[in-house]
Structures are given as structure tokens and as C-alpha cells.
């Protein structure tokens, strides 16, 4: 039975992919496509954060920096006439570059100090961006729209980067680099004692995560056509990016994906349907997860499967997808 489920997993993933590929053709309303598009953007950012925070254990509150820089890079390049797809690559490059500038000093910090420093960096970047008039400053930046708006094009860009993020995550988690990152998360000193250079590994995974987040920001900027420092660089953007993998199941790929999807859809619906109490409900949901289900939604799923005597977590290949990383005991 277990083997059966295991062998179905790629098929299952392919099935999901096929469905989302075909969705726009099935004649969904633009609103649903929009929600899915935003979900894809968040899935990308969530997976990226998960690589650094979930796999390598470096909790960052500063992913808005990469998201925002990606958005601005793409916006400026599109405005200069660069092909959007190419400008997303530019987003990735700019974000990765920034990740080195941030990572080289801050990764020398241990314990909660890294997390704290990322807050400082991200807020400082927001304020600075708010004052640079060359990129619009506090007036925000408008992205020139090319001709008629085709929502499905954006949808497929979003889907493409989400798939890219899943592939990158899978590759990393199953590589020896992924193993090293997991070792660093558990014990940085012990990892160094077997020849891993924790500093260098952290820098690289930071850059990869930043590049993915930057692409997500770029794709979003292309869709929104107007970006503002108080929006893309906001602290709340960093918090959202962090919450998604935590709610889904920190350290796992399905968790990051599921978390992004659930957070996007639930928040969207809460804001729309219960405007008076959406913060309350969102807060309660988060509290429930922290107190009751530290493995996140994936943990919940796993427990339910176990109840049905199917445990997907006990075999090797699924480790990266289902994982064992819990929120409990994770230090900052």
C-alpha cells in the first residue's frame, strides 16, 4: 500500500499540473484566475523562504527586500523596453546580488541576532527606497503596460515560476547540498566539523532563495503594473512570506506549497467576506496551528493518512516532500 502511494506521487503531481495548466481554458472567472495567479507568486516566495528558513534553519524576516527589489528591477527593465521574461531574470540577478550584500555581514551573527538584523535591513531598505526619487520614491513606480492585458499570460508566468520553485526545491533537497543545509540547521558546529563551510552554504542558499523571491516580485510587478515601496517592501510582506511555509509545514515542499495556497485563499476570502473580523479569524487560525499542529497542515495531513494506516513519511524519497521538520523547537 505504501509503495503504491509512493509510486503514485509523481503521477499525482503531474495530474495537478495538468489541471492547473488547463484551468484557464475551462472558462474560470477572471477573479479565480487572479487568485490562482497570486497563489503561484506566493508559492514561489514561500518555497524560497522555506529553502533558507525551513531547510537551512536561518529564519529571515527580510524577504520583502528581495521581493521588492525583484519587483522594482522588473518594473524598471520593462519600462526600458526589455522583454518581460528577460526582465524576470534581471529581477533574480538583482535580488541574488542583494542577498550577498546582506548575507556576508549578517550570516556571521548567531541565534536570534540574524533574524533581528534582517528586520533592520529590510526596514532600512524600505525607507531608502521610499526616498529615492529616481525610481519613483514615495510616489511608487508604474509599469508600462504593453498593449491589451491578457490575464492568462500572467497566469502562465505565475505557474511557470511556481513549478520552477518546486523543481529547484526538489533538486536542492535531494542533493548533497540539501543534506549539508539540513546538517547546518541541526548543528552548525558539527556541520563544520565534517568539512561543511556553513557560511558559504548559507550564502548560496540565501542567494538562490533571494533569486526565486525576486522573480516572484518581478512577476507580481508585471501584473500589478504599479508598485510602491510601502507595499512590496513592507514588513507585512516579509511576515506573509514567512507565515506561509509555517502554516503549511515548515521545512517541507508540500507544506510550503499548501501553506501558500491556503494563506492566499483564506486571507482573500476573510478580507472579502468578514471584513470586520478578518484579523481575528486569521490570528485565531495561526494560534491554532502554533499550539495544536506544529507540523503545519502537512503534519495534519500526515496524521490523517496515518489514521488510515498509510504513512507517507517513512520512506526516503518522500522525505523532501513530506519532511519531518516541525515548528516546535525551531530557534530563531
Amino acid at each position: 500500500m505504501k509503495r503504491l502511494i509512493a509510486s503514485f506521487q509523481p503521477l499525482f503531481a503531474a495530474g495537478i499540473l495538468l489541471v492547473v495548466l488547463l484551468l484557464p481554458i475551462l472558462g474560470l472567472t477572471p477573479n479565480v484566475i487572479r487568485i490562482l495567479f497570486i497563489t503561484f507568486v506566493w508559492i514561489t516566495a514561500s518555497l524560497a523562504w522555506n529553502l533558507l528558513g525551513g531547510v537551512a534553519g536561518q529564519v529571515s524576516f527580510g524577504f520583502a527586500v528581495f521581493y521588492g527589489l525583484g519587483a522594482y528591477a522588473a518594473a524598471l527593465m520593462i519600462n526600458a523596453g526589455v522583454n518581460p521574461a528577460l526582465s524576470f531574470v534581471g529581477s533574480a540577478a538583482v535580488a541574488a546580488l542583494a542577498s550577498f550584500l546582506i548575507g556576508i555581514p549578517t550570516f556571521r551573527l548567531r541565534g536570534p541576532y540574524f533574524a533581528i538584523a534582517t528586520i533592520g535591513v529590510s526596514e532600512a531598505v524600505r525607507v531608502v527606497m521610499n526616498n529615492i526619487s529616481a525610481v519613483g520614491g514615495a510616489g511608487g513606480l508604474r509599469v508600462t503596460e504593453r498593449g491589451i492585458f491578457h490575464q492568462t499570460e500572467h497566469y502562465y508566468s505565475g505557474l511557470a515560476i511556481a513549478v520552477l520553485a518546486v523543481c529547484v526545491s526538489l533538486l536542492i533537497e535531494r542533493s548533497k547540498f540539501g543534506l549539508a543545509l539540513r546538517a547546518i540547521r541541526q548543528d552548525e558546529d558539527a556541520a563544520a566539523d565534517i568539512g561543511i563551510n556553513p557560511f558559504r552554504c548559507k550564502l548560496w542558499i540565501h542567494a538562490i532563495a533571494a533569486a526565486l523571491t525576486g522573480v516572484a516580485g518581478g512577476v507580481f510587478a508585471d501584473y500589478a503594473a504599479y508598485i510602491h515601496p510601502q507595499g512590496v517592501f513592507a514588513f507585512s510582506t516579509s511576515v506573509t512570506i514567512l507565515l506561509m511555509p509555517v502554516i503549511g509545514g515548515i521545512g517541507t515542499i508540500w507544506g510550503a506549497v499548501l501553506g501558500a495556497a491556503v494563506v492566499t485563499i483564506v486571507e482573500e476570502q476573510l478580507v472579502a467576506v468578514f471584513p470586520q473580523v478578518h484579523l481575528l479569524l486569521y490570528g485565531l487560525l495561526l494560534m491554532l496551528i502554533v499550539l495544536l499542529e506544529p507540523d503545519g497542515l502537512v503534519g495534519l495531513l500526515r496524521r490523517m493518512l496515518r489514521r488510515m494506516h498509510v504513512d507517507p513519511s517513512s520512506r526516503g524519497p518522500d522525505e523532501a516532500l513530506w519532511g519531518r521538520g516541525r515548528l516546535e523547537g525551531r530557534e530563531l
Partner: protein, 422 residues
């Protein structure tokens, strides 16, 4: 040291799963809030902040919109010729929490999922900018009731409209007013100005309006200090100290409501004095009065609307609004929102259809003859933005507010310079 009791033991996973699935079941059917009765009502999307930083003004605007909708519906609705009957207006409201990404999303939602015939919203420029993108995409008229920066209307969008006159005009009107005081001999010529502008398009436009006026009218004023400040700061003592050191005669700030209150409090607490003092478009709000008492006396403000305007329609509006909400329209926020709904209704009636492009075309020609706004009529310009004049109001002792400029609408004399406190 783990406690033996844990919540987890009491909430098995299936309970949580049940909770989650029930919540999903609640959510999904409510996805579409406008579409069901597309035929027998006109759906108008309203996206405004009623929580977060801009919650207060957003609330006022929402009330203005709802009052207008109620009045239209009480009168049977809007006559739509091609349906041959009067259709009521159905409001679909979303709170964007003062978040610009969310506000754009919600406008898109209203336009696409709720099939809104038109969308109103966008309080404060950043939110308005983000929302304005959606209008042309979904070819749905969008009228901003609270974003004034001219940049929104400079992109050649075809479906964006706004009932606020541009902020540059606010700046130049303010300067005009000060100039008239000089002409009357109340202020001396060649006074020094200090500007503290909020770091947004709004603040920058305001400052530009003033500076342009000064360039065109040499000899009246000189700017000795001009700096931008960050919104939402808890402390302005450094900035005010700098203003103090600039030794200006007139202090003009452009700030949001919260910052106005904080800054004015610190201004008074540090014992500063200027011959004239303004916070841009903020001044007569009752919240400020409550917070500062007579500390807001003699502050003048350039605003889009005042309840003191001597038009019959304004008197009626003030009455209706007070009855509808239980409080007084102490600021301009509800008026521009109220007029936006009425202009929209007029456009729909003129178009005779609920076709959005036809309504857009009609909006371009609409002339609201009994507008609340200064001038008494409202018409959208070729870029979609109205260009009504501003009125300058001044706070006076005992909670009085007078329109002091322009002359034809004035309800009282401008007091200048500000009397020094004993």
C-alpha cells in the same frame, strides 16, 4: 519540563480538519457577491480602507457613498432606458485595510467576480494609483473619491475618473490665499516660508504647487526650508527643531490626519509660533479639535469641500448626512464620495444602459449641476479628473470654522497674522 496536559490531546486532528473544511464550505459559495442579481440591480463596487492608517477618512467616504446610494434607492433607483425600468443600486463593499496591493486586488475582484458596473474607491494616492490600473483592464469605470495626485490621470487611461481636484491646485490655492493676505496688508511682503511635506505624491504635488506660484509671483514669499518627512512617525521634535531654526514666518505642512495631530501637538508643546500655519488639506477635523482643544485655532486648510459652503444642496447634504450617520460632516471626505455616486447615477441614466463603455462615455459628458463642491457644478476633465476650486477654511476660537477664501464663498474674515497666546 513538558506539561502533561496539552491542548493537542483535546483537539484531535480530525476536529481541526473538520474546522478547516467547514470554513472552506462557508467561504466558497460566498465567492461571488454581485453576479446573481446582475439583471435587476446595478452593482457598484466600493473599495475603501476602514481599518489601518487611513481607516477614518475611508469610513467617512464610505458613509458619503452609502448616503447617496440610499437616497437613489429611496427614489426608486436609476432609470435605465434599455431595460425600461428603474434599477436599484447594489453596493459591494470591500475594506482594503489601507494596503495598496490588497486594494488593487479587491478592485479587480469587484470588477471581475462581482460584475460591478463601476467601482468607487481609492482613498489616498498610493491606493488610488494601484487601483487605477484595473479600470482599463476590465473596461469598467473607476472613480476615485480620495486620491488627488495628478499622476493617476497622466497615463492615458480611459476608464479612470476622480472627484478630487489635483493637489498642485491645492498648493497654488494656498499660496493664492496667502498672497491675497499680503495684498490686503495683513501680512508683510517678502515673508519666509517653511515647508514640511509628507513623503508621498500628495505632499510633493502640494509643495510643487506652492513653489510654482512663488516663481510666478516674485517678491511675495521666499522658501527657506523644505523637507519631506515619513508618514506615521511618533515623534517630530527633530523636524520641528529644524523648522524652528529656519526662522520662517509661515509654516506650511502637508500631512495626513494622524500626523497633523501629532505634529501640531508637538509644535505647541515646543512653544513655536508662526504668523500663519497650515497642514495642507487637514485642519477643521473634529478629531483634531478633540485632541488639541484650542490648540488648532487659526490653523487654515485648503480643502475640497466645506460644510460652510453657501449652497442649498450643501445644507441639505449636511442635514441628511447628520441624520444618516449620527455625526456631523466635519471634513471634506464624505462630500467628494457623495458626488461621485451622483455623477455615476447621472451618467448611467444618460447612457440609458448598463454597458460599461457607454457609461464611461456618459461620465465624460456628465455635468453635475447641483454639486456640493466649490463652484456648484462638477465636470470631469479630459484626463478624468475634476478641477473644482479649493476653499480655504480657518479654524476660529470656540470650535468655529469659517471659509475665508475665495471671497465669493467666504463666511468670515481671515485672521492674519495668528494672534500670539498670552
Amino acid at each position: 519540563m513538558q506539561s502533561s496536559f496539552s491542548y493537542r490531546n483535546y483537539f484531535p486532528s480530525f476536529l481541526i480538519a473538520a474546522f478547516l473544511s467547514i470554513s472552506l464550505v462557508i467561504f466558497l459559495p460566498s465567492c461571488n457577491r454581485g453576479g446573481q442579481n446582475a439583471g435587476n440591480a446595478i452593482t457598484v463596487g466600493v473599495v475603501l480602507p476602514i481599518t489601518g492608517r487611513e481607516g477614518k477618512p475611508g469610513q467617512y467616504q464610505k458613509e458619503g457613498i452609502e448616503l447617496a446610494i440610499k437616497q437613489i434607492n429611496d427614489a426608486g433607483g436609476i432609470m435605465v432606458k434599455d431595460k425600461n425600468k428603474k434599477l436599484p443600486v447594489k453596493e459591494v463593499f470591500y475594506d482594503d485595510g489601507s494596503d495598496q496591493a490588497k486594494s488593487a486586488s479587491l478592485v479587480e475582484r469587484a470588477m471581475s467576480s462581482d460584475n460591478a458596473t463601476a467601482v468607487l474607491g481609492g482613498y489616498s494616492t498610493a491606493l488610488g494609483e494601484a487601483e487605477s490600473v484595473m479600470a482599463d483592464r476590465y473596461q469598467t469605470p473607476w472613480i476615485t473619491t480620495g486620491a488627488a495626485a495628478s499622476t493617476i490621470f497622466s497615463h492615458g487611461y480611459q476608464y479612470t475618473f476622480g472627484t478630487l481636484s489635483p493637489t498642485t491646485l491645492l498648493g497654488s490655492t494656498t499660496a493664492d490665499f496667502l498672497g491675497s493676505l499680503v495684498d490686503q496688508g495683513k501680512l508683510k511682503k517678502g515673508l519666509k516660508l517653511a515647508l514640511a511635506l509628507e513623503n508621498t505624491d500628495h505632499g510633493i504635488d502640494y509643495g510643487n504647487g506652492i513653489k510654482q506660484w512663488i516663481q510666478q509671483h516674485p517678491g511675495y514669499f521666499t522658501v527657506v526650508f523644505s523637507e519631506n518627512f515619513e508618514l506615521g512617525s511618533p515623534d517630530f521634535s527633530g523636524l520641528l527643531q529644524k523648522v524652528k531654526a529656519a526662522k520662517a514666518d509661515i509654516f506650511l505642512a502637508d500631512a495626513h490626519l494622524q500626523d497633523y495631530i501629532t505634529m501640531q501637538r508637538q509644535y505647541l508643546q515646543s512653544g513655536m509660533y508662526h504668523q500663519m500655519l497650515s497642514y495642507g488639506a487637514r485642519g477643521p477635523e473634529s478629531d483634531a479639535r478633540k485632541a488639541l482643544g484650542d490648540g488648532t485655532d487659526y490653523i487654515f486648510a485648503g480643502i475640497w469641500w466645506s460644510k460652510k459652503l453657501p449652497y442649498p444642496q450643501v445644507k441639505k447634504f449636511v442635514q441628511d448626512y447628520t441624520q444618516f450617520t449620527g455625526h456631523d460632516p466635519d471634513s471634506w471626505y464624505p462630500a467628494t464620495a457623495y458626488d461621485a455616486v451622483r455623477a455615476l447615477a447621472q451618467a448611467i441614466e444618460a447612457a440609458g444602459t448598463t454597458n460599461k463603455t457607454a457609461i464611461r462615455d456618459a461620465l465624460r459628458n456628465v455635468e453635475l449641476k447641483d454639486s456640493l463642491l466649490p463652484g456648484g457644478t462638477m465636470k470631469f476633465g479630459s484626463n478624468g479628473q475634476v478641477a473644482n476650486a479649493f476653499v480655504i477654511v480657518q479654524n476660529k476660537p470656540e470650535d468655529k470654522v469659517d471659509i475665508v477664501y475665495p471671497k465669493d464663498a467666504a463666511t468670515g474674515e481671515a485672521i492674519a497674522p495668528t494672534p500670539r497666546k498670552k
